[in-house]
Symmetry: C3
Subunit: 324 residues, 3 copies
């Protein structure tokens, strides 16, 4: 995953080019922008919330956009670049590396599939495929579906009709039902009067083997990180997954559930219809979340919760009865 | 409705072929899998929940997949086949009869409409029609819309653009707005580590006369039974109807409402925006359900409810004030 | 905005032609149906709820469909036409003026874009454009997208794929992500056994400069009035906006939010995911509405609310704790 196959990246840049006001090693060259976890000593990273302090402590990045308050968590090898708004400066440097990732320009390299290249793939009518896609054996792609450049799809997948897939890596035996929009940029921007500043989205969507998505789901790609759905996890219709959300293996997500950005869901989690999960949360393994719940806190392994805000199921039932 | 026009069925099979471990009439031949209500003495049926005991008592099926606990409700003519998981064995035998109904393979018999066959139908651009469809007089089909094989659509319908319709029977004067996905398989499977077991969906969607669907709705077809919307019932945008849901006549369903599987809604029911209705419920006639409600119990005729969980409206208002 | 560019209007009509049972100036000729605010002395208007009494007092319409109870608010120059159901008679006269606006017949004037007319526009594959559209410089239109007749789109817009836009005026630098359906008729009808009476929708959707819509949003056009999104307001995925909703400038609307009809939202408002806003409300400026909230009352400038029903955030937190 070291190279970004979906977005063109500029050459390495001198840090001093971008952060002109800071005083630090003027000659430091940075090669890419990555998360705290993924960065190497060639990269710059960012650290905007105490929630990520564990990742900060072990980052290998050579420098990190952060705040006065958070800098103490960074290791010695990582030079802090102190700013007022981490997200603002993150947007600025990401845009500098990836000038085309802040908007989803439709792929104009699309064309009808080259049957000689995809000889074992079954295509419906009017399918459009971008450059450098990979589609595995015995996969079926439905009518009017659009697969943008560099997307890879595994073997034995059933991709429905009227779907858009971009910036995504899709495993084997994945099922995607009609109307899904996968890999679009997320809802990330810095509010600014008259003209918001968009956060470039250089991440991907990764759907692991045996994933199923119901119809009209929207799965946004990650901003710097990726959006991931684990093996054998099934989503029902009209589910919305924001950027950077990670869902584990063997989960069941019912219709119209919404996930706000950067939340992580464990394995074997089941979520009832129309539940909403706030952003930047950790939901453990083997958790059950009742339909219609609004989850606003982390949830421990094995918990069963329901309600708005979500509470342990027993309490929800007791409270509902108390009102009677 | 005795023949399934959407899915190819295998020849009749010996019961002993499928249920090798059970002891019973080895020579019993079964012709199809049907619901308790629809089965004839040529069919096998299934009975998995006490909620269906009334239908069980009068079933005409020759045999029934059920449990030790439930078998006492079956009539004498119906031989119980006792299993641990009714749904598991139901999936197995349904897949045996209908090998292609567990996944929605895109219809590759689609082609441009034959103008001589559909001489009184108005088609937009790029419409795709499958084999053996029927489309009534003066019906209009919008741009980029896909009508898969064997679908029938009545007279004077207005079908919008970028729609997919499969496995559906649609009445007269039905209006379907852009982006709806109708007749896809539902969210039915038996969770199984690493590879869930999909329930074949051999049911249909039936939209009766004068139904209207707003844009981007998703209406899943039935699993063994059908999904039905009654006459003159209107749905707003982004409504999600799971498999086997039945809505009566003259209902009004506002935007983003979600119905979990196998729930039945009476006539003259109105449901406010974003309400969610749990699965396997009975909602009576003339019921009003407030916006945002979460309905988790059966509701009697004429009730007015609101809240999460939904309670009588008066109580909801009193409780809201009490908190003030 | 005096002429309706999207719907063909009949010639002026004698009032007595439509309201045969009323007694009034038999020779009064009316030229159009408009809202209380927009009507001139050539137009008829309507006044169905006390909520609009301020607009009623200053209307310039020559006559107004209303009720015995409300007529006292109308100025002298405006003749009241007293009816039992304002909406029923509104539907009747609107249909008389605009016979084709009660159903969304797909545009059959669509064709591939004329490259000589749109020389500075970049088009994806299979784009369909109706008659008399205007598309600004350097705008990009994605694949399989449909722009119906008379729609105008400004400069530097990025319109994604598999979108439908009709009856809409779109500003500069607007971003619309894949799968949105914009400008369709709303969920407006008079319930009537066996055959509801549809309210014609002669309004538009207006998206001002720098608006962004996430994927699979549905933005219905206005009925008599317009649906409007102000400058620099961003919507996330799967948002549903009903007819006549007006959102101000610089707002942030998260995923799966739903707006019922005719509600007005101020400037600088942020709304969390899955919140629902009831119809005919006024939400002030600088309001924050928490995720999952159900807003059923007007909200004053600067308020922060959460809950179902929504209450001030402090109270929501206190109540949630009290239950613990």
């Amino acid at each position: 995953m070291s190279k970004n196959i979906f977005f063109e990246k500029s050459k390495p840049i001198l840090l001093s080019e971008v952060f002109t006001e800071s005083q630090f090693n003027k000659d430091l060259k940075i090669h890419d922008i990555k998360t705290l976890k993924q960065a190497t000593n060639l990269d710059i990273t960012f650290f905007e919330s105490i929630a990520y302090k564990d990742s900060a402590k072990t980052t290998k990045a050579s420098c990190c956009i952060t705040t006065e308050k958070l800098k103490k968590y960074l290791p010695e090898n990582c030079m802090p670049i102190l700013v007022k708004s981490v997200l603002f400066d993150l947007a600025k440097i990401t845009k500098r590396f990836y000038p085309d990732a802040d908007l989803d320009y439709p792929d104009i390299t699309l064309s009808k599939p080259d049957k000689s290249k995809y000889s074992s793939v079954k295509f419906g009518n009017n399918v459009l495929i971008g450059k450098n896609c990979q589609i595995g054996e015995s996969t079926i792609i439905g009518n009017n579906t659009i697969i943008e450049h560099n997307v890879s799809i595994g073997n034995n997948c059933v991709i429905g009709s009227q779907i858009v897939i971009r910036n995504s890596l899709i495993g084997n035996e994945v099922v995607i039902q009609d109307g899904c929009k996968i890999g679009l940029k997320g809802f990330g921007f810095i509010p600014n009067k008259n003209k918001n500043i968009r956060m470039p989205h250089i991440g991907k969507v990764i759907l692991k083997d045996n994933v199923e998505l119901g119809s009209n789901c929207t799965i946004d790609r990650g901003s710097i990180d990726d959006t991931i759905i684990g093996k054998n996890t099934f989503l029902d219709n009209q589910v919305h997954m924001a950027h950077n959300v990670k869902i584990g293996d063997n989960c069941m997500i019912a219709g119209q559930v919404g996930f706000a950005g950067s939340t992580t869901i464990g394995n074997n989690v089941s979520i009832g219809g129309q539940a909403g999960i706030s952003g930047h949360l950790n939901i453990g393994n083997n958790v059950k979340i009742g339909g219609g719940s609004g989850v606003v806190k982390n949830i421990e392994n094995g918990s069963v919760v329901m309600g708005y805000p979500a509470v342990p199921l027993k309490k929800f039932i007791k409270d509902s009865k108390k009102d009677e």
